[in-house]
Amino acid sequence: MSANPMLPYLGKLVETRDLAAAITLLRIELLNGGGEAFRTSQPGQFAFVSAFGLGEAPFGIANTPQRGTAVDFAVARLGSVTTGLHELGEGDMVGVRGPLGNWFPMDKFKGKSLVVLGGGIGGAPLRPVIQHVLDHRADYGRLTILWAARRPDLLVFTDEYDEWRAAPDTSLHLTVDTPDEAWKYDTGLITQLLERTAPLPENSVTITCGPPVMIYHTTNLLAKMGFPPEWNYVTLEARMHCGLGKCGRCNLGEKLVCVDGPVFNMEAVGDLLETYL
């Protein structure tokens, strides 16, 4: 990367696709050295994506570099930058700055069973975790995916569920708060689904990402179920403007989400989560 870490790489949108209601997948081919930088990105890292003229915002990297040279982001349309990104089409240029932050220590997880809990757009940074496990299936134990959204049309990566379900020793459990007529899976909160699914805490690691309240309640329940805090991982988000530990905004107590995170285990942030809500 250039000597100026605030300067993004240029990237060309090679694919845009609706993932869910108001959520778009952006597939970006990086130019001027960016491809090289992202070749070593790790599950859990993030990057800033620019809609030039509107600004930039942070997004979880949604694929592993082993799955292709382009970088994927799943972007929910919520405000000015995200709306700008939704309006772009194939061939348009964006800026990408990263990869930033720490990541899930996938090597440390080897030999363990994984419980992956994703809520809404929080599924985006979990997709590379799932891809990594599926691509190195023998290295890990059982993979249990609990996937939730407010409504069925807000579930992300639906076209990949068959691949996940078909993988050895892997199960996918879906729930929504408000079902529609066609819905044939669980209804209710992800915590209820977790109680019903009841994965075993022995030799397991959990990974949770979603809205703050979901993270708060899910990690509390996991602790009650006997999952030890040092093996309960979360990925957090906070408003941030640099991703480099400079702009000061994203602190959680003395921790900076951008450089000390976004990946934390509950041993490190358990006491601080109240201030996150």
Binding site: F52, E56, D92, P105, R239, C247, G248, R249, V259, T275
Partner: protein, 341 residues
């Protein structure tokens, strides 16, 4: 880009005090000081305390006559010299599907005269973030490198000053390049760094063995007296006047059709929307919680995040006390915090 470690500590390497590199000293008269500053102002940008509608600020001066004759510390610190309220980081040119980014860096050389020890310390504290913790901030580094600080020791503490209570002192030379101490009829000048030595007119000044006698105020615990606080600003102003507050936002502005600039601008953690995220959720929303975060940042988070050890990120300049409209006093909070520990 350098990768963060997946778990555990970040690399931190900051020492709060830098060693005084030089100790060569001169005695100079008022006239010699004026001639010297006039020479500097003619060759490069000279910033100095200056009266702007009744408020003292570091501003460009054309000659020494424009410098405020008597001042304690200016209302705004020297922070803005290295980290301006608004900085253009690059421009964006769009033509059809093509996009070009053009980096813009400040290149000019600046000398600041009359820097009070607390402000010099503030610059050292910002160094901990922008220079000494990876990645180095390209803009800050450029400005810092191109700036020479001429310090002026304080003879006494001003009404809201409490530098001596947070490890500083009115005659601390550790953050400037040249230090001036007022004497009978002139100044004792000391070169502190090589950069400072470079600015001193070689043969013209009279070298001396006299050393500055450390100020008696240096070790006193000082608490400002409340009655003298004017309190004239709005409720997130403390962050703007503080020499070590550095929160910023990044945003794009339109210059012309297809032409944009990416800016970063000062921001305040006391602002209501500081943490607002898309969708409207605002963690740390109440004023008390924001207040708590600001003080914890100064005395705990900042030192912890940037490896300052026991040092605090408050220089004791007392500006936030001076501008607070509701009389929030960092020294009272500090005493409370110490009692709670």
């Amino acid at each position: 880009m350098k990768k963060a470690k997946p778990e555990g500590e970040r690399a931190k390497s900051v020492s709060d005090k830098r060693p005084v590199e030089y100790s060569q000293r001169w005695t100079i008269s008022h006239k010699e000081l004026e001639t010297w500053l006039d020479g500097i102002a003619a060759a490069r940008t000279l910033l100095a305390p200056r009266d702007v509608s009744g408020v003292t600020l570091y501003r460009p001066v054309a000659n020494s006559a424009e410098i405020a004759p008597v001042f304690t510390r200016p209302l705004l610190s020297v922070k803005g010299v290295f980290f301006p309220p608004t900085e253009r980081m690059f421009t964006i040119h769009k033509t059809g599907l093509e996009v070009q980014l053009e980096e813009t860096f400040p290149e000019w050389e600046t000398v600041v005269f009359g820097v009070r020890p607390c402000d010099a310390r503030g610059a050292r504290l910002l160094d901990a973030i922008f220079l000494n913790t990876n990645p180095v901030d390209a803009f800050y580094a450029r400005r810092r490198e191109n700036t020479t600080l001429i310090g002026l020791a304080c003879k006494e503490l001003g009404p809201t000053c409490f530098c001596t209570s947070v490890g500083g002192s009115p005659d601390d030379a550790s953050g400037v390049d040249i230090m001036l101490y007022e004497t009978e009829g002139g100044y004792l000048a000391q070169a502190v760094t090589e950069k400072g030595r470079y600015l001193i007119p070689g043969g013209e000044w009279k070298e001396t063995d006299l050393a500055h006698q450390p100020s008696a105020a240096g070790s006193q615990y000082h608490v400002p007296e409340k009655d003298e606080w004017p309190g004239r600003f709005k409720d997130d102003y403390c962050a703007y006047v503080c020499p070590t507050c550095r929160c910023f936002v990044v945003r794009d502005e339109v210059l012309a059709p297809g032409e944009f600039e990416r800016l970063r601008c000062w921001d305040s953690c006391m602002g209501e929307n500081y943490r607002r995220v898309a969708g409207g959720h605002k963690p740390r929303f109440k004023r008390g919680e924001r207040q708590r975060n600001r003080f914890f940042c100064k005395f705990y988070y900042f030192p912890e995040q940037y490896g300052l050890g026991a040092a605090s990120a408050c220089t004791g300049c007392g500006r936030c006390i001076e501008v607070c409209p509701v009389g929030v006093d960092v020294t009272e909070v500090l005493v409370d915090m110490e009692e709670q520990v």
